[in-house]
Symmetry: C2
Subunit: 198 residues, 2 copies
């Protein structure tokens, strides 16, 4: 997989995808590039014209690949993140819940030692310079992925907005399930004030 | 706030920001536009040249505004999401943990009835067409926000990657804290197979 300008991923040239990754994620993270190939493969499998929601099984890197290369984001609710530290994602038809799961296949990845060592955190970061790592990821591409058709049986519900209340202390709206006061006014906030509100 | 091409938000023309919102989030969601003004205000307060991490207090819309208009994303770990349903965000210096919190101020928002009704979910969605709502959000802009300086006291730690194991059943890597097998192979997955892996 040498010529980035000829290879198309997620509907545009790979080179452009790599630039988008850098702009959004801060740098060409190997996990993001892997994620790009995963999203691309899942989109091929599910076909065009399907309104697909996504579940990712890690909060590292992969959610950003989904947000960049599909219409699904955290904020619009079409992407769900499971904090399982598995490098896998599922695209599925939001109506039939049929879809496909694509994952990073360790057995296949052994053929790419730099990538394997990085992924399994077997080598100190400094011994794996980004450029070397990226080269291995681009050489590997879809060759380190596996896939299967799935029926999604859980986590498919769109999360509805909860009922909100107005907190009698801070005057802000908050999820009513938290109680009479918001969590911050219950002393469970994450900040203390250094100024009065303005 | 009528001329979208003259107003600058987050370093670019408001009109361009609105286009970016539509491209990323799927449509010009009122919450995203509100979020744009919130990010803009927080950036003004914290000043340029500060490496800022972000905490948002809702998973609806606001995380996308942060991901679009700051370097912080879910996947790079610089954005943390608290599922509190409070329309607020904090930008803070990742070294000193000093920062600012900006929130949607209900008391100020009462002057913008359409926006207020939408936010408090007081009117059926159909009675508040998007265009009307957007007009009110753009008219309101920063006038419905409040702010204060804060010291972040919790949730500031970068979440380190956990130790991973290889699952003896599926052969995939997973967070070792889950036990001997990954959650999916413990029967807690979200899918059943419709094909063999390939």
């Amino acid at each position: 997989m040498k010529n980035d300008s000829l290879i198309m991923t997620c509907g545009r040239p790979l080179a452009q995808c790599l630039e988008e990754i850098e702009a959004f994620h801060g740098f060409k993270a190997p996990g993001m590039v892997l994620g790009l190939f995963m999203v691309h493969r899942a989109q091929e499998l599910i076909g065009s014209g399907i309104e697909a929601d996504v579940i990712v099984e890690t909060r590292h890197c992969l959610p950003d690949a989904v947000q960049l290369f599909t219409p699904c984001t955290v904020g619009n609710g079409w992407l769900k993140i499971l904090d399982w530290d598995k490098y896998a994602l599922s695209l599925y038809d939001r109506h039939t819940r049929e879809g496909c799961r694509v994952w990073f296949d360790l057995a296949k990845a052994r053929a790419f030692p730099v990538l394997y060592q990085w992924f399994m955190r077997l080598a100190p970061k400094k011994s794996l310079p980004l450029e070397m790592l990226l080269e291995d990821v681009l050489a590997a591409g879809p060759a380190v992925l596996s896939e299967r058709s799935i029926q999604v049986t859980d986590f498919y519900n769109r999360q509805k907005k909860d009922r909100i209340n107005i907190c009698p202390d801070c005057g802000e709206a908050f999820a009513a399930v938290q109680g009479e006061r918001c969590l911050a006014c219950q002393g469970k906030g994450y900040y203390r004030s250094r100024s009065q509100p303005s």
